[in-house]
Symmetry: C2
Subunit: 180 residues, 2 copies
DNA sequence: ATAAATATAGAACAATATGTTCGGTAACAA
DNA sequence: TTGTTACCGAACATATTGTTCTATATTTAT
């Protein structure tokens, strides 16, 4: 990727995040982003077709960091093949905590809902093999609840209670949802 | 309320719902709604300031039916002072089932997220006094999880599994979330 | 039944946002 | 150095927005 492209992409992401702390996602125009990033109009459209695409790309950037297996297997909290699913959840929270600053602005209004929807898409892949309840509850229903509970935990945590540790949050989650 | 106002309001609601089944909320313009409802431009703006206000008003209409105490105390399932909280939840599901047709279109895309957010606002009021877990879990966290789990249950139910009974859905919910 | 009040239609309007195009300039890579 | 590519910035047609106005039709109250 061209150095100029990386720079422009970064300028747009930064401007977008900065704007999110000042105004809502829906009221934000492409023009606002262009002005904030101080780039040419055609340049923006060379990178992203729409505002929604930009948001999606930013989310993807974040989640690819948070959910990348390479990262999960190294660093803090020795993540071995023998670790439990609960440990893995704690791990994901650790990586979300690292990205906290980038994530914070994304929680505002309608934008937050979209962010959480993308987060859930990634979570489905992680949870799929691990959710196995008795036959009294449909599997896809249990998946929906588990994923939603996790997403809601993240929201509550990063939106005003980020002083709790990932381990604590995992305990809360497991104390609330019986199918995990 | 003037008869003409009621008629126009109804025309707008109907047009909006019909459009939602054809195109996404974000791509829908006020002009689309005006054309579909076949009303004058100024008439729309006499009723709603923005598209978002319209969506909010429609949701309010639905939820005021679903959560009205008068309705909950009469009709099916004798709702007495001695009924449990679980019964009350089942009741809410019954009333949502009645509004199923109006609600169905609201689940699409970004619109669904907004609908669920409004639903949650009503649920908070209902759940607030009834969620009392031990001190090991923060009360507002438990609220968030309970409300989100209920909202997710509604989504799963009305989006492809509406053949289940309200009682069954309540059982699933109670089987998944331990803080209820 | 009549009069006053009010809702709607429809046109016109300025202001703004969108998405595209194009030629010139600068930065990159080989 | 040379060819390639990204950026700038202006200009453009198009579409949406939200407001204002007058004429018309409907409703409500007397």
């Amino acid at each position: 990727m061209d150095r100029r492209q990386r720079r422009t992409r970064s300028l747009i992401f930064t401007a977008f995040s900065a704007l999110l702390e000042r105004k809502s996602y829906s009221s934000m125009t492409v023009q606002d982003i262009i002005d904030e990033a101080d780039i040419g109009r055609s340049t923006f459209y060379a990178h992203f077709e729409t505002k929604d695409e930009l948001l999606k790309a930013l989310c993807t950037d974040i989640f690819e960091h948070v959910f990348s297996e390479e990262i999960m297997s190294e660093e803090h909290h020795d993540f071995s093949a023998h670790s439990t699913f609960k440990d893995r959840i704690t791990h994901i929270l650790y990586h979300l905590q690292e990205k906290q600053q980038s994530v914070k602005g994304l929680f505002s209004g309608e934008c937050g809902e979209i962010f959480l929807r993308y987060l859930k898409e990634y979570l489905y892949r992680v949870f799929d093999e691990h959710i196995a309840v008795n036959d009294s509850i449909p599997h896809d229903y249990a998946m929906d609840i588990a994923v939603a509970a996790f997403a809601e935990t993240v929201r509550w945590w990063l939106k005003g209670h980020s002083d709790y540790t990932p381990e604590q949050m995992t305990d809360y989650l497991y104390g609330s949802v019986s199918i995990l």
